[in-house]
Symmetry: C2
């Protein structure tokens, strides 16, 4: 396989990511992807047989990067409060670098559930471990007792939502783009504060 081939394949994947993420599967056009990659439509089909297959390749890659970092933090050897602090900062930082990923996943999830289901292997996150730690620290009086499925979802909700509902929030609070960027950054410490205050006994 020639070097040119490798490059083209990556070019296509990069272009496809951008278009699919921005428009979703149904809104994306093969022509737009070809343009973005600086090639023609025929070549897309040469490398990936169909639009579906191309989407799968993109989605796999995106999905693959969704959980591992999360899992690593969740399973780290840290006290819960440190873990939360670390997790939120890392997670919001990642989102700031990939602000359109969450909406893309949510969109796929809801309008093309079948397409998503073929990619679900398993998140790989073990909520039992998290629950165990919460229980232990609750006994020690470090935090209050709580269900893992609420704590984790609460935290992730607050991290992600401002990225997917941006236009609405920006409208309600009348922020311009620069202000919203600052707002998103400020949420890192804000969410940590909010959560820690809530779980402190």
């Amino acid at each position: 396989m020639t070097i040119a081939g490798e490059n083209t394949e990556n070019q296509i994947l990069t272009a496809a990511s951008q278009v699919f993420i921005l428009k979703g599967f149904d809104g994306a056009r093969m022509q737009a992807i070809a343009d973005q990659a600086g090639i023609n439509k025929a070549l897309l089909h040469y490398y990936f047989r169909s639009k579906e297959k191309l989407f799968d390749a993109v989605f796999s890659e995106v999905a693959a990067n969704l959980f591992p970092a999360m899992k690593q933090v969740i399973e780290a050897e840290l006290e819960m409060k440190e873990k939360i602090t670390f997790f939120v900062k890392m997670y919001v930082k990642t989102l700031l670098e990939n602000p359109f990923i969450p909406a893309f996943v949510i969109n796929t999830l809801n309008t093309n559930p079948n397409r998503f289901l073929t990619h679900i292997k398993k998140a790989g996150i073990n909520p039992m471990l998290l629950q165990k730690q919460i229980d232990e620290e609750a006994v020690l009086g470090l935090i209050r007792p709580m269900k893992a499925e609420h704590l984790l979802v609460n935290i992730i909700s607050m991290c992600i939502f401002p990225f997917v509902a941006r236009p609405i929030i920006q409208n309600i609070f009348e922020m311009n783009n620069d202000e919203y960027q600052l707002y998103l950054e400020s949420r890192q410490t804000e969410i940590v504060d909010f959560v820690l205050k809530s779980i402190t006994v």
Copy 2:
């Protein structure tokens, strides 16, 4: 205008809502809407000139019901903690009755931002009022000082997110559909608890 006409128009709007909400603008097919309404495509164009206009009609209706109830609670004459309790319970209850609306709005927001922008009149929510109340109650020591744009977004995030990320959450925590329904219901009190504990001085 005949009664039959009125009925047909409503039939179309109902069918169109269902299809658009499930598939998004790009994924929706006029044929699917016609089938759902029990009529043919031509009649869709007779009542609404184009797919875009039909979508606008649907989206207006959905968007119109998004904020008013919210606004009413936010501007009610209640102490902040009561207000939050009332708001969360009402809001999650509304979502349980319309579980696909949030994903639909988020999808439209992100893949067809222009389409959404034509509908933004103004949320009508005045965050200044909320901030004023927070400030006043903070002085009285009823709650801790906080920025309205964080408190409100935190609350709404936690209410909405489990509805748009359902498949992922359900997968991680290995819940079946019945369990997830119970989970969603349990979040009403869970979110209230979580927030009140956080904002208590």
